[in-house]
Amino acid sequence: MVGFEALVRATILGLQFGTTLALLVAGLTLVFGLMDVINLAHGSLYMLGAYFGVTLVDAGGSFWLALVVAPVAVGVVGLLMEVFTLRPLYGREPLYQILVTLGLAFVVEESVKEVWGTSAQNFAAPAVLAGSIDIAGVTYSQYQAFVLLFTTVLVAAIWVGLERTNVGVLLQATAHDPEMVDALGFDVSRVFTGVFAVSAVLAGLAGVLLGPARAVTPSMWFNVVLLAFAIIVIGGLGNFRGAIVASLLVGLLTGYAALLVPSYTELLVFALMAVVLLVRPAGIFGTATGDPG
């Protein structure tokens, strides 16, 4: 019934979807890994990226300018969030951070409605990338291919950066034992703020990159937030490599499920989450301590 060709296509589409998921969860998993913060406002930062992007493009800036400026602006928002609402909570139960970030998500949603209104925004992909290309029987817009390439490079860079650079070493150490890192002479609260801001930048980047292909609305955060969490849980809480692998896995699962049992895609993702947690409680790549590498 389902031919080989269809499976190949499902695989390609699944991997492509997985890559966009990786883009969405990259920042989220960093924050969880380092700070034990379950940031329900991550989707909101993603949404802000898209809105800032639309505004910059509409204001006459180019898409490429927006791709640089919007994430930075989101980073600033993230930084303020961390300093004023999360810093007072470190050391308390992660639950409280969940509630605070849920509160922030509501505040962002209402603020977006206030500023941009409730209708969906038109975020046009850059005209340069208007054409399309064919890969293994699947038609991609050039823009899609660009996002794919960009994301792959970005994720690979973060991956390598976490393993090979001094900053990466610092982050791994902080994830393992922030108190000790502080006692070694590093201002951990600045590390946290920095990581949260970077995570916000990544979310903003996802917003700008995915915005042109998606509906930019004040509730777009909601559709991604739970899926993003399922992925970082599957990958092993706060484990960057795990989150990336889990993104691709969930992408593939979605690709095949969409082909074979489209109604049950979401159900399968949560079933996968449950099974992974039961079989490998710390996730595919997780360690009990949480390690961002």
Binding site: N166, Q172, D177, G185
Partner: protein, 234 residues
């Protein structure tokens, strides 16, 4: 040298959450001294070091380092001023290599003392993950990590020989002696009271969060009452 002791803890009270752990505790460490802090499990030894390091800051009292108050400072500021903690259980970063552990600590400051000269055993294992080292090697790494980075004037050593084989304990005490010889001031918490008292110039005995005795190391070592009541040594 200034007239101040390197470290002066003046009447601190420290809490863990709601439980009161240290009561009006005072102690001093002079320049170049090695001072031991001995007491039973749960007496508050580790908490004292954590208080000094700013990890569990006291609610009352003062901590002076080279005459300056540090009790309100964050651990990283205290480290940069020259206090370094080698914590209980070592707390090295197991997934990082030996070299990464050392470089990370070094990156926080300017000291580039070649610790590998002092700890040749680490030199051989630079690229090994720290988690795979033996207990003694991990302890060496923890001390090495405490020596690089910002210049260390006061080293807080928490149970450096805990859980180590006798032969290794000897190696560690040699290292501590060498550090003393190099002029580094040391505040040592040690379970092995005899060893502590051998290494130390002076010692404090701590019991349920209070200093109950203070004397030269030799004195205490030969005071049967102290040995029996406070250290359970017969």
């Amino acid at each position: 040298m200034s007239a101040h002791p390197v470290l002066a803890v003046e009447g601190i009270d420290t809490y863990y959450g709601r439980s009161h752990v240290l009561f009006d505790l005072s102690l001093e460490v002079g320049a170049g001294e090695t001072v031991a802090l001995i007491g039973n499990n749960g007496a508050g030894k580790t908490t004292t070091l954590r208080s000094i390091m700013g990890l569990t800051p006291p609610e009352r009292g003062r901590i002076l380092f080279r005459g300056e108050e540090i009790q309100g400072c964050k651990p990283n500021e205290i480290r940069r001023r020259g206090v370094s903690l080698v914590p209980e259980d070592r707390r090295i970063f197991p997934s990082l290599t030996v070299a990464e552990n050392v470089e990370l600590a070094a990156a926080a400051g300017s000291t580039t003392t070649d610790v590998y000269d002092r700890f040749p055993v680490l030199d051989d294992r630079r690229d090994q993950r720290a988690g795979t080292l033996s207990g003694g090697e991990q302890q060496m790494l923890a001390i090495a990590r405490g020596l690089v980075g910002p210049p260390t004037e006061l080293l807080l050593l928490d149970e450096p020989t805990e859980g180590l084989a006798p032969q290794i304990v000897e190696d560690v005490s040699e290292v501590v002696e060498a550090l003393t010889d190099d002029g580094i001031t040391i505040l040592l918490v040690e379970q092995n009271a005899e060893l502590a008292l051998e290494l130390a110039d002076r010692a404090y005995v701590i019991e349920t969060g209070r200093i109950v005795h203070e004397a030269g190391g030799d004195e205490l070592l030969h005071d049967p009452e102290v040995l029996e009541t406070h250290l359970g040594v017969r």
